[in-house]
């Protein structure tokens, strides 16, 4: 009888092994299928409510704005023609006649007007977090912030089914590329006004882009299939886009290795740090590494002694070795940063970074020591007090912080305590200026240096350093007021000089790079300057 039990147990184990051994067919999706990892469930797929990269990655296949980005340039998409007035303040857009919604309705100018006004609606439930992207439009900010503006005063009007008139607050040379941004997508007026929860499930979802939402298994996967009545249907080669939602980096890595994914890493996935370093070292042919217009830096609390002193801040910035950090700590092909606006952002004719080559500072430990002593003296202090360098969990934040604290200790003889802080608490501390030095990062919203420069105006919504400089503010205003790109770039360059060169309000560390693993059979997937992915025109070549 004992023998019987043992036999039973053994046979159970054996049968599992046999079934398993029958193997799994993991070969890539049937034909033209592109599979990637979103990393998490998108909080929403409603253009008005979106604010994160997971949602925008899915949406970029589902929706299309008046323009779309192709090879870094804004080309007409839903718009057939865009006429700009002399002063750059009035845009008259003609909508294409063959643009359709996935439910068969025609896309009209009314859909655009409705969508933008809906996003700006102060009573939208829940309120749109990215509505400020629409503030370029006249009257938008006043309406959205309940500062006395009415909806009729917002400068967007559909004069007929196919004509949209837009009035801007300031001349904005990069407005055409803004029009490709998801906050500027249209929504189907009839569908959305009837059902506020239209974007919660695949069966009520209506979109106008090259793909439509064929299924949304919450927290599990999303499938897109081509929209048959898309006006440029022939350019769409993929038969399916399959998104999974795997939060664990090594699971994603395993899935890529077993051919369950065609793409791994940014924008929404992640490659484990050590593995990335190995891939770079091995020069793995499937690794695509390109610069990303995103800056990794540290905030100084400009309102707190001794960080209120520019010399102290400069000293700290000069006393670290950025190349060493990039080579030995972050190891992801990043580029040391000595300014704030990263490469990849347009200047006048070339990149801003290629045109503005001023060296704002150099790394020099001895100079730094001198400067530190001077700065402290100015503040009436003899020694640098111990302070806290805080950062949130994840990525390379901890190793970088520890390396920098170590460098400060060696080069300046100061004691720095590094501290992990929980995400929301970290944000709260940073916004309320309850920190000494805090990790930060900024990615571009659009391709113009202004997306970096206007952060630091006095009282700016994203200025969590307490930095305030009247000249800086004036330069920003100047850059806003003109269409002349050269004038704008000059003003912004001067502003950057004030920010970094004169004041070192923040400490730039490196410019990020996008690292992804791509299967050799995947073709024509684009990554733009900000690291966003365009898979709409991709195809599989086996």
């Amino acid at each position: 009888m004992k023998a019987k039990l043992t036999l039973l147990l053994v046979s159970i184990v054996a049968s599992v092994a046999v079934l398993a051994g029958c193997g799994n067919d993991n070969s890539g999706g049937a034909g033209q299928e592109f599979r990637m990892n979103l990393g998490a469930e998108p909080p929403t797929l409603d253009p008005a409510l979106m604010q994160d990269q997971v949602s925008s990655t899915v949406m970029s296949g589902l929706f299309e704005g008046l323009t779309r980005m192709e090879n870094g340039e804004a080309v007409n998409a839903m718009a057939e023609d865009i006429a700009v007035s002399e002063d750059g303040l009035k845009y008259t857009v003609k909508i294409r006649q063959d643009a359709k919604w996935s439910n068969g309705d025609a896309v009209t100018a009314h859909d655009f007007e409705y969508s933008w006004k809906r996003t700006l609606d102060p009573n939208l439930n829940p309120p749109a977090p990215y509505a400020y992207q629409l503030y370029y439009i006249k009257g938008a900010e006043e309406y959205n912030t309940n500062a006395g503006g009415t909806v009729d005063q917002v400068g967007v009007k559909a004069t007929d089914d196919l004509t949209l008139e837009i009035e801007l607050k300031n001349p904005t040379p990069y407005f055409k590329s803004l029009l490709s941004f998801y906050t500027y997508y249209p929504v189907n007026k009839a569908v959305v006004s009837a059902n506020p929860a239209w974007a919660a499930e695949a069966d009520t979802y209506v979109s106008n882009g090259p793909f439509k939402l064929s299924s949304w298994a919450h927290s599990d996967s999303i499938d897109l299939v081509p929209f048959e009545d898309y006006y440029d249907r022939d350019s769409i080669k993929l038969e399916k886009v399959h998104f999974v939602m795997i939060s664990d980096a090594s699971t994603e890595s395993n899935m890529y290795e077993t051919d369950e994914l065609d793409w791994s890493g940014k924008p929404t996935g992640s490659i484990p740090v050590e593995q990335l370093a190995q891939l770079i070292q091995d020069k793995n042919p499937e690794l695509v590494s390109q610069p990303q217009a995103s800056t990794y830096y540290y905030n100084f609390n400009n309102s707190k002694k001794p960080f209120n002193n520019a010399k102290v801040r400069k000293a700290l910035s000069m006393a670290i070795d950025r190349q060493a950090i990039v080579d030995k700590v972050s190891k992801g092909n990043e580029v040391p940063a000595f300014a704030f606006v990263p490469p990849g952002i347009h200047g006048v004719t070339k990149d801003f970074r290629d045109e503005i080559t001023t060296e704002y500072f150099t790394e020099n430990a001895d100079e730094a020591k001198k400067l530190l002593a001077e700065g402290l003296a100015e503040e009436g202090m003899t020694a640098m007090p111990e302070f806290e360098l805080s950062y949130n969990e994840g990525g390379v934040h901890q190793p970088v912080a520890e390396a920098i604290a170590d460098m400060w200790n060696k080069n300046l003889g100061i004691t720095v305590k590094t501290q992990t802080v929980e995400w929301k608490v970290f944000l709260q501390n940073r916004t309320s200026l309850a920190y000494d030095v805090a990790r930060a990062g900024w990615g571009a919203d659009y391709n113009d240096p202004m997306t970096y420069i206007d952060m630091w105006i006095t009282g700016g919504g994203n200025n969590d350093t307490g930095f305030s400089n009247a000249e800086y503010d004036a330069l920003v205003k100047e850059a806003y007021s003109t269409q002349d790109q050269q004038a704008r770039v000059d003003a912004m360059a001067k502003a950057e000089q004030i920010l970094i060169g004169d004041n070192m309000a923040i400490m730039p560390i490196f410019y990020s790079s996008v690292n992804t693993l791509v299967k050799p059979h995947v073709k024509n997937v684009g990554i733009d300057y900000k690291g966003d992915i365009d898979y709409t025109r991709a195809y599989i070549e086996k």
Binding site: M1, K2, L5, T6, L8, L9, I12, L19, A20, G23, N24, N26, E41, P43, T44, D46, L49, Q51, P122, N125, P126, P127, P129, A131, Y132, N144, T145, N146, A147, P196, A197, A199, A200, A217, H218, S219, D220, V244, M245, I246, S247, D248, S250, T251, N254, M255, E257, T258, E260, E422, W423, K424, V425, L427, Q428, T431, G441, G461, N462, D464
Partner: protein
């Protein structure tokens, strides 16, 4: 029996109420709120959000509103997942955790008891020692280590299974393994020690003296007594497994409830936090309750009503 059940239910409801209150106030006490993002939300929008969710009202007022909704079984909408109701999120995710959980529980109990029985029957022989060694290792090794190793060797290197997801029957094998190794080890040890005791009991000797066969003695006489401690372990274990191991679900990309539990706190998704906490508590209490009933059914010596026999 009926009065006992009624009393237990009232207890459970009271406990849930206390839990809801404690969670509500603790949750609001944590710094940070759901609206903070890396790219700051403008002040006006933030105010609108706060007004929309009623966070501008005094705390006790918010609490009363929440209680009122709770009594109407309205757990509200998630604050982060737009237009998804808390109830929908929980039922959807729980389905995955439940499916995996039930399989893991069945495997744990069946394999654990079988192994424990074998160890008890071959007490002190080599098989027993090997089994106990394996059980010790099984208890010591954390489930995420097993999960990660299992995934790497069996899914990635050997290609026997998919790396992630819970779509076909074979997808259950690795996550079930990761979840059930500890319970199997525990149950095996428990079964073994209890069965060794039981098999040495006088009533087993009597059964033998009656001329009953060894299989009959094992199944009818020994097992029922030997499994009582296992039953009391399995109750709370069930609740733990079913409500999902965060780590195992995350490693195998299973869209279960576990991940929401931790993510909702990081996101300060208040409604979801409350909903999941209450849900977990209800499951735990229900499983304890069922264990009590099961115990009483199996062991006639346990009286669950005040009346004597």
């Amino acid at each position: 029996m009926f009065r006992y059940v009624l009393r237990k239910l009232v207890n459970i409801l009271l406990s849930l109420f206390v839990l809801a209150t404690a969670t509500f106030f603790l949750m609001k006490a944590i710094p940070g709120d759901p609206f903070m993002q890396e790219k700051n939300v403008p002040a006006a929008v933030r105010e609108n959000l706060i007004k929309y969710y009623g966070f501008d009202k005094p705390l006790w007022h918010q609490y009363l509103i929440y209680l009122k909704n709770l009594l109407n079984l309205d757990l509200g909408m998630s604050m982060r997942q737009q237009y998804q109701s808390v109830v929908d999120i929980i039922t959807r995710s729980f389905k995955y955790s439940l499916q995996l959980g039930v399989v893991a529980i069945i495997v744990s109990v069946v394999v654990g008891v079988a192994i424990g029985l074998i160890a008890a029957l071959y007490n002190r022989k080599l098989i027993d020692r090997l089994i106990m060694l394996a059980a010790t290792v099984g208890i010591a090794v954390p489930n995420f280590v097993l999960a990660t190793l299992g995934q790497y060797y069996f899914a990635n290197k050997l290609r026997w299974f998919h790396v992630a997801g819970l779509h076909g029957p074979m997808d259950y094998v690795l996550p079930t393994l990761a979840l059930s190794v500890l319970p199997i080890a525990f149950i095996a040890r428990l079964t073994r020690s209890t069965m060794i005791e039981v098999l040495a009991a006088d009533y087993i000797r009597t059964a033998k003296a009656k001329g009953l066969g060894s299989l009959t003695i094992l199944i009818r006489h020994a097992l029922r007594n030997g499994l009582l401690p296992v039953v009391s372990y399995v109750g709370p274990m069930t609740a733990n497994i079913i409500t999902g191991s965060v780590v195992v679900e995350s490693i195998f990309g299973i869209a279960g409830l576990g991940k929401f539990f931790t993510d909702s706190v990081s996101n300060r998704d208040y409604t979801l936090i409350m909903g999941i906490t209450l849900f977990y508590a209800a499951i735990l209490m229900a499983s304890r309750f069922i264990t009590d009933i099961a115990y009483a059914i199996i062991d006639p010596r346990i009286k669950i009503s005040k009346k004597g026999g």
